[in-house]
C-alpha cells in the first residue's frame, strides 16, 4: 500500500514537472541566442510569434494608452494619435518575429510609435505642426472633446476647466518645439522614461540624449514663460 502511494506521488510529481516544462517552453521559445525575456509581455510575445493573433490583443490593451499618449503629445492631435497608434500596432505585429528580446517589449513598441509619430509630423502638411500656432485659436482642431484623465476626480468644474485650458496651452508650447526636442521631452519629462530606455527607443547615444534634452527644456521653458509669464 505504501509502495502504491509512493508510486502515485512520483507520477504526480513527474506530470507536474512535465506541465511546467511545456509551459516554460513557450516563453523560452523565442529567438535563439537572445537573452530570455524578463518582462511581463514575453509570454504573449512568444504566442504571437507562434502565430496566435489573439495573444496580441493582450499586448494592445496593455500598451495602447501609453502609446496613444506618446503619439498625442508628439503630434498634438487626437485623431492623428489614434491613426498613429493603429499603424504602430500593425507594424509591431508584422515585425514581432524579428523581436529578439534584447530590450523590453514595451520599449521596442514605444520606439515604433515614436517613429510613426515622427514620420507623421514630417509628412504632414506642415501647417498643423510647424507653423506657429495662435494660443487662443485652438478650438478648431476638435481637441476640446478629447477625454482627459485628470489626476483627481473630485476637482471642481471651474478648476477642471482652468486645468484643461492650461494643459492645452502647454501642449501648444510643445507643438511649437522642433521635432527632435519634442520627442525627447515627451519621452523624458511627460512619460517619464529612463535615459536608458530613451537611448534604446531613439537609437541615440546617451550624451546626445542628455544634451538634446537640455536644449529642449530650455526651449520649452522659454515658450512657457511667454505663455504663462512668470513660472514661479
Amino acid at each position: 500500500m505504501i509502495h502504491i502511494l509512493t508510486i502515485g506521488n512520483w507520477i504526480t510529481r513527474l506530470l507536474m514537472q512535465e506541465g511546467t516544462k511545456s509551459a516554460g517552453g513557450l516563453s523560452n521559445s523565442e529567438g535563439k541566442g537572445s537573452r530570455p525575456l524578463a518582462d511581463e509581455d514575453s509570454q504573449y510575445v512568444a504566442l504571437c510569434i507562434q502565430g496566435e493573433p489573439q495573444a496580441f490583443e493582450v499586448l494592445v490593451r496593455r500598451h495602447q494608452k501609453k502609446m496613444f499618449n506618446i503619439a498625442y503629445r508628439m503630434t498634438g492631435n487626437y485623431d492623428d494619435a489614434a491613426d498613429i497608434v493603429q499603424e504602430s500596432f500593425l507594424s509591431a505585429y508584422k515585425a514581432i518575429k524579428n523581436f529578439r528580446g534584447e530590450a523590453k517589449f514595451s520599449t521596442w513598441l514605444y520606439g515604433i510609435v515614436v517613429n510613426h509619430s515622427r514620420n507623421r509630423i514630417r509628412h504632414a502638411s506642415g501647417k498643423a505642426y510647424h507653423e506657429p500656432v495662435s494660443l487662443d485659436a485652438d478650438r478648431a482642431t476638435g481637441n476640446e472633446s478629447r477625454p482627459i484623465d485628470p489626476a483627481s476626480g473630485e476637482m471642481p468644474a471651474i478648476d477642471l476647466l482652468v486645468r484643461k485650458e492650461m494643459q492645452e496651452k502647454v501642449q501648444q508650447c510643445i507643438n511649437r518645439l522642433e521635432k527632435d526636442h519634442r520627442e525627447i521631452l515627451v519621452l523624458r519629462d511627460i512619460q517619464g522614461f529612463s535615459y536608458e530606455e530613451i537611448t534604446e527607443m531613439l537609437g541615440l547615444p546617451d550624451g546626445t540624449v542628455k544634451s538634446r534634452l537640455s536644449r529642449a527644456r530650455s526651449a520649452i521653458k522659454e515658450s512657457l514663460k511667454k505663455v504663462f509669464g512668470d513660472l514661479q
Binding site: 493573433p53 496580441f56 490583443e57 494592445v60 490593451r61 495602447q64 494608452k65 496613444f68 499618449n69 498625442y72 503629445r73 487626437y78 494619435a81 489614434a82 497608434v85 493603429q86 500596432f89 500593425l90 505585429y93 478629447r146 477625454p147 482627459i148 484623465d149 485628470p150 489626476a151 486645468r163 494643459q167 502647454v170 501642449q171 521631452l185 519629462d189 511627460i190 517619464g192 542628455k210 534634452l213 537640455s214 527644456r217 530650455s218 520649452i220 521653458k221 512657457l224 514663460k225 513660472l231 514661479q232
Partner: protein
C-alpha cells in the same frame, strides 16, 4: 564659475548627473546669484508642468479596431500565401519542376525514337527502287544514305520514305542483277559485269527487304513500292507488334549478303546436285536448293575458312563465270552457287 556656465549645468544638476563638488559649487553660486536661482526655479517649474500633464484616454474602439485590422490582414495573407509562395519556397520548387520536365522529355524522346533496325526495315529497299527508276547518281546517293548507320530520327526516315515514293513512274527495264549487287559491298565493276550476265530473276525477300530471285517479271516502280509497303513493312510491323506483346525480342535479321558463285553448265541440274554435295561435304548448314527461270540456286551457310575450298571445288565441276564477294563477319557465311544453263549447250 560664470553664470552662463552655471545655466548650462542646471539641467544636469536637476538630473543629479554632477559630482558633489560641482553640485556644491552650483548651490553656492545660486545662493548668491538671483538670476541663476531664478533660472533654476524656472527649470524646476517647467519639469513640474510637463510632468503634471494629464494622460489622455485613447478612443474606446482603438484596441478593437487594431485587432480587426490584424485579423483581416491575417486572413488575406493566408489566402495570398496559397497562391504566392515566398521566394525561398518558390525557387526550389520551380527548379525541381524544371529538372523533372527535362528528365521526362529525355525519357520520352528515348522511348519513342525508332530502333535503328526498325528504320532500316521500314524503308523501301533503295537498291531496287533506285536502280529501277532513278539516275545513277541518285542511286549512289541513296545507297550512301542507306549505308549510313541509321539514326533515331523519325523525320529523316519519313523524308527517305517520301523520297522513295516520289520516284517518277515509268517502266524502265533495268537489269535486276544490278540491284541484286547493290545492298552492300557491291562495286561498279561488279555492276558492269552483272549487266553482261544473263538475267537472273529476282524477288524481294519479305523479311530483309533485299532483292532476291524473282518469279514474276519486272513490274513498274509504283507497283513495287506498293508491294514493299504491303509485303515488307506491314508484315514486319505486325510481327514486331506480336513480339512486343509476347515480350520477346524480334529476331535479329542478318545484314549479310551471300557470296555468289555463278557458274554456267549445259546440265544445270547435275551441277547443282554436285554443288549441293560439295556444300554438304564442307559442313554446310541450311543447304537448300531452289529454282527459277532457268537457274538453280544452291544456298547455305559455311565456315568462312572453307570458302576458298568451296570456290575451287565448284570450279572443278563447272565453268565459273563470276564470283561475287558478299559481306558477312559471322561464324557462318552465307554462300550461293547459282547454276545457269549454258545457252550454247544442248
Amino acid at each position: 564659475m560664470k553664470c552662463s556656465e552655471i545655466e548650462e549645468r542646471l539641467d544636469a544638476y536637476l538630473e543629479n548627473f554632477l559630482q558633489s563638488e560641482e553640485r556644491a559649487a552650483i548651490e553656492e553660486h545660486c545662493a548668491q546669484c538671483s538670476r541663476c536661482r531664478s533660472a533654476l526655479e524656472d527649470l524646476k517649474r517647467t519639469k513640474e508642468v510637463l510632468g503634471k500633464l494629464d494622460e489622455v484616454e485613447p478612443p474606446a474602439w482603438l484596441a478593437e479596431k487594431v485587432m480587426a485590422r490584424i485579423t483581416a490582414k491575417e486572413k488575406s495573407k493566408g489566402w495570398l500565401q496559397r497562391f504566392f509562395l515566398p521566394l525561398h519556397v518558390k525557387v526550389p520548387v520551380q527548379a525541381l519542376a524544371m529538372a523533372l520536365v527535362v528528365v521526362i522529355s529525355v525519357y520520352l524522346y528515348r522511348s519513342t525514337a525508332p530502333e535503328p533496325g526498325d528504320l532500316a526495315r521500314l524503308q523501301p529497299p533503295p537498291p531496287v527502287a533506285g536502280s529501277l527508276n532513278a539516275p545513277a547518281k541518285k542511286d549512289v546517293d541513296t545507297k550512301k544514305r542507306f549505308e549510313q548507320p541509321p539514326r533515331p530520327d523519325t523525320q529523316r526516315a519519313e523524308k527517305k520514305k517520301a523520297q522513295a515514293s516520289k520516284v517518277p513512274a515509268g517502266p524502265v527495264p533495268v537489269p535486276v542483277q544490278k540491284a541484286a549487287a547493290v545492298p552492300k559491298g557491291g562495286t561498279r565493276a561488279d555492276e558492269a559485269d552483272a549487266s553482261r550476265m544473263p538475267p537472273v530473276p529476282l524477288k524481294k525477300d519479305a523479311i530483309s527487304g533485299y532483292a532476291m530471285t524473282q518469279d514474276a517479271p519486272p513490274v513498274a516502280a509504283p507497283e513495287k513500292a506498293e508491294r514493299f509497303k504491303t509485303r515488307g513493312a506491314a508484315p514486319m510491323a505486325a510481327r514486331e507488334e506480336k513480339a512486343a506483346e509476347c515480350n520477346i525480342a524480334a529476331p535479329e535479321i542478318p545484314r549479310e549478303t551471300p557470296l555468289q558463285i555463278i557458274v554456267t553448265s549445259a546440265d544445270p541440274s547435275d551441277v547443282a546436285r554436285k554443288a549441293r554435295g560439295i556444300m554438304m561435304s564442307l559442313s554446310g548448314k541450311e543447304v537448300r536448293e531452289r529454282t527459277g527461270n532457268g537457274s538453280i540456286i544452291i544456298s547455305g551457310l559455311i565456315d568462312p575458312k572453307r570458302v576458298s575450298e568451296l570456290k575451287s571445288r565448284v570450279a572443278g565441276i563447272a565453268m565459273v563465270d563470276e564470283v561475287r564477294t558478299g559481306s558477312g563477319e559471322g561464324p557462318l557465311r552465307p554462300v550461293e552457287v547459282i547454276v545457269l544453263k549454258d545457252p550454247a549447250g544442248p
